[in-house]
């Protein structure tokens, strides 16, 4: 590949005035933090706020030793887009699109309707038809956002505050789907390419599932554990209304049981006590779920690299920025390096290199049997390619100025290469670990202590079957013991899962229900193009849900 064709060159030229190959530059001449428009904005605002509240706040001059900006405070390009922004714009608190992505995941609960329908028919002798289902869905779309359906004197929720709340259904049965009011249906045939739709419908069969989206406002005020409860309460009340049931008879409890336990699919499982969070929190979202939540695979099914990179961006925001960077630590530290996997087209370049290498040398994706020869060859070649780019382009080395950034990006490409070749994500993660060991010996350095501890013992747990280590890779996540502090890894890991399936043309990676649930145009965040959406958030062009303008004083 010629130098100019490297995918990251454009971003490097925008970041620095020197050529990307230049090893020398000047420092201490950039007017410190004042070189950044965003930091100037923060400073001016902070001065006003300090007057208003009587307490000083943001002040970049208190930085230890000397203020930030002794070198170029570089802009970042959202990979796969033409959007450039400042690093500050990618902090989750400064980016409404990132927040909405997380809210849209957390406020989602999938719940089967078949158990409830069986109770209605066999125990209560009620008739269930497409008409009664439509009636039920109309009622639930009133009740789920906070409307009363049974009680005669109730406080209700202002619909303007919860306009993003609704319920839809899906089924693998085309005939049944066609009989349900289309406003309530996630139409698999319309949302997915034909081959993917076929796979998904076969997996779902004749079952009917409802996808409840609780209000973003509830997600902001409560937690992930609220969601199934909120859904179950309103589902039960709606069943009473739709099928004219006695409020409180034992059978009604079955609806709540089905919605809370028997037929519920939450996006994340509970986390252990030492990191205690309820279900539907980022720590419990498996890698395979984040891959399925991302909808890039139905937009460009023939570009498995692009699909994997889009998944990785969501993994970076969810796991690294929300979970590790905020739930587990807080503060400012994690944005700066979590963004390396989805900015400046660096990982894109390494990933397409890996894909080309596999295609040219082995002929196809998803069909090569995993073997040591294959893993050693692809992992080593891709890792050395990535590492050499840092050495050939000092501007690139400066872009990823932390070792954890470089380690994540290089190993991600190595893992994706093997996933693509074999269609096996566990072989993919094994390649990741070989890459990390090679990286450590090449540069004589890797990440920070908390970063590379896992990578130095990861080879041995990649194919382990021991009960506390042996989990198919798709089902791992930060809830997997050795990944509990695995900062900066899970983003790429979700891409390694995705690549194994994208290369084979699979419609989903881990759970077809999750994949279908997010094939929904009514969602606020655009799960088909997450990187573009994050970019819009950075440019302040993304409109989130959950705003409170209806109930606060106007300015």
């Amino acid at each position: 590949m010629s130098q100019d064709k490297k995918m990251f060159i454009k971003a490097l030229r925008k970041k620095f005035k020197e050529t990307p190959e230049d090893m020398y530059t000047k420092y201490y001449i950039y007017n410190a933090w004042k070189q950044s428009a965003r930091k100037r904005e923060f400073f001016e605002l902070s001065k006003k706020l300090a007057k208003q509240r009587g307490i000083p706040g943001y002040n970049p001059e208190v930085h230890l030793g000397s203020p930030m900006g002794q070198r170029v405070l570089m802009p970042y390009q959202l990979s796969g887009t033409d959007i450039y922004c400042e690093a500050d714009d990618l902090h989750i608190i400064n980016n409404a699109a990132m927040q909405q992505m997380w809210h849209d995941i957390r406020r989602t609960v999938i719940s089967g309707l078949d158990a409830a329908h069986m109770v209605l028919q066999k125990r209560l002798g009620k008739e269930v038809t497409p008409e009664t289902v439509n009636n039920y869905l109309e009622i639930l779309n009133h009740a789920l956002p906070g409307g009363a359906v049974v009680q005669e004197h109730m406080a209700e929720i202002n619909p303007g505050l919860v306009s993003d709340c609704y319920v839809k259904v899906f089924t693998g049965d085309d005939e049944l789907a066609s009989e349900i009011d289309k406003r309530y249906v996630i139409d698999i045939n319309k949302q997915f390419p034909a081959e993917q739709a076929k796979q998904l419908k076969a997996a779902v069969g004749k079952k009917l599932y409802q996808v409840c989206r609780m209000p973003t406002a509830v997600s902001m005020c409560c937690d992930g554990g609220t969601m199934a409860r909120w859904a179950a309460m309103q589902i039960s009340m709606s069943m009473i209304d739709a099928y004219k049931l006695m409020a409180g008879e034992a059978a009604v409890g079955e609806f709540a049981f089905a919605a809370k336990h028997a037929e519920v699919i939450e996006m994340g499982t509970l986390t252990p006590w030492r990191r205690a969070r309820g279900p539907n929190e980022p720590g419990g979202v498996p890698l395979g779920y984040i891959a399925d939540i991302c909808q890039a695979s139905r937009v460009k099914p023939d570009d498995p690299c692009w699909v994997s990179l889009e998944v990785i961006s969501m993994g970076a925001v969810l796991y690294d920025q929300f979970w590790f960077g905020s739930y587990m630590s807080g503060g400012v530290g994690f944005t700066q390096y979590a963004t390396c996997t989805y900015t400046d087209n660096v990982l894109d370049d390494y990933t397409y290199f890996a894909a080309d290498y596999v295609k040219k040398k082995y002929g196809a994706y998803g069909k090569i049997k995993p073997s040591w020869d294959l893993i050693k060859d692809v992992s080593t070649e891709v890792s050395l390619y990535g590492l050499e780019q840092y050495e050939k382009f000092p501007a690139l080395m400066e872009t990823h100025f932390g070792g954890s950034q470089r380690a994540a990006v290089v190993a991600a490409a190595a893992g994706i290469g093997i996933s693509l070749a074999t269609g096996n994500s566990t072989a993919g993660i094994n390649s990741w670990y070989l890459s990390q060991l090679l990286h450590k010996e090449d540069l004589g350095r890797l990440g920070f202590y908390g970063y590379d501890q896992q990578d130095q013992c990861g080879s041995s747990n990649s194919f382990s079957w021991r009960s506390d280590e042996g989990l198919p890779f798709n089902l791992r996540g930060v809830n997997y013991p050795n990944y509990a502090l695995n900062v900066g890894h899970q983003s790429a890991h979700s891409g390694i899962v995705q690549a194994a399936h994208a290369g084979k043309g699979d419609a989903w990676t881990t759970n077809p229900l999750v994949k279908i649930a997010f094939a929904d145009k009514s969602l606020v965040f655009d799960f088909t193009h997450p990187r573009l959406c994050f970019g819009k958030g950075a440019l302040r062009e993304f409109m989130p849900a959950g705003e409170r303008t209806l109930i606060v004083p106007s300015k």
Binding site: L64, G65, P394, Y433, L443, G444, F463
Partner: protein, 258 residues
């Protein structure tokens, strides 16, 4: 085991050979510069030159030791014996063929000195020891061939710079500007201590090591002069370790003939 001879490190290239050399405690590190004890104490910033060592416990001979087979086997270092507090020196190594890379530094510390507590990050290596022991080791760290005033930095905080391009004088970036290139003397002067507190007077640490000399001494690979991919022996060693670890995690019985 009596005939066991440590091999320290595999590889056929200059960086591998230098890693092997620096890790071998029988190899005497070559002294390239002199820094007075007092100046080193000033740069580290833990005590004023001449000030007594602060202690966290009385000398061991006063406190007495509980019956413990480990304590009987391990002779305390002078700092431990005296009850010194633990203090640190932290070094940053540029990726542009500095003499030592962070992991090499840690391996070297463990092989060469006792009583070390080392951490390795991509851009810095903290070394914590009893204070008087630390000062002795720090002297060797700064005066010998494993230190280049331009591409090795003594930094307690705000350490980033290892991966940044070099400045117009070939110096590694330091946001706190703890050291400056003195254009008159062509030497590097430290003007602040490890955490950036200004020193009363500049402390010269000598001239940067010349590029061709660095290439001979470095333990870092770089595509521009000695690429990692050239060291096939080292690459195969890494691949073998990875393969054995993987197999051991899956089914240790499957490993034969190791």
């Amino acid at each position: 085991m009596t005939n066991y001879k440590p091999q320290f490190y595999p590889g056929t290239t200059t960086p591998s050979k230098n890693r092997r050399k620096y890790m071998d405690p029988s190899y005497k590190l070559q002294k390239l510069r002199t820094i007075s004890d007092d100046d080193l104490v000033r740069i580290m910033g833990h005590r004023v030159p001449g000030e007594a060592y602060k202690s966290t416990h009385p000398p061991l001979e006063e406190t007495g030791e509980p019956a413990c087979p480990i304590r009987e086997m391990v002779t305390p270092t002078p700092g431990a014996k005296a009850g010194d507090r633990i203090r640190y020196i932290q070094l940053t190594d540029s990726v542009y063929i500095a003499p030592v890379a962070p992991y090499v530094r840690a391996w070297m510390y463990h092989n060469r000195w006792r009583g070390t507590d080392v951490g390795v990050l991509s851009g810095r290596v903290p070394l914590e020891m009893r204070e008087r022991d630390l000062e002795k080791v720090a002297k060797e760290l700064v005066e010998t061939e494993i230190f280049d005033p331009a591409r090795t930095g003594i930094r307690g905080a705000t350490v980033h710079g290892h991966a940044l391009r070099l400045d117009e004088n070939g110096m590694m970036f330091d946001a706190q500007r703890r050291y400056i290139f003195n254009k008159k003397t062509k030497e590097v002067d430290y003007v602040k201590d490890q955490v950036g507190v200004p020193l009363d007077k500049p402390i010269p640490l000598g001239k940067p090591i010349a590029e061709d000399e660095l290439r001979k001494r470095t333990s870092e690979f770089h595509a521009s002069f000695e690429p990692f991919r050239k060291d096939q022996e080292l690459i195969e060693w890494v691949q073998r370790i990875h393969m054995l670890r993987t197999m051991a995690g899956n089914d240790p019985e499957s490993i034969k003939g190791v």
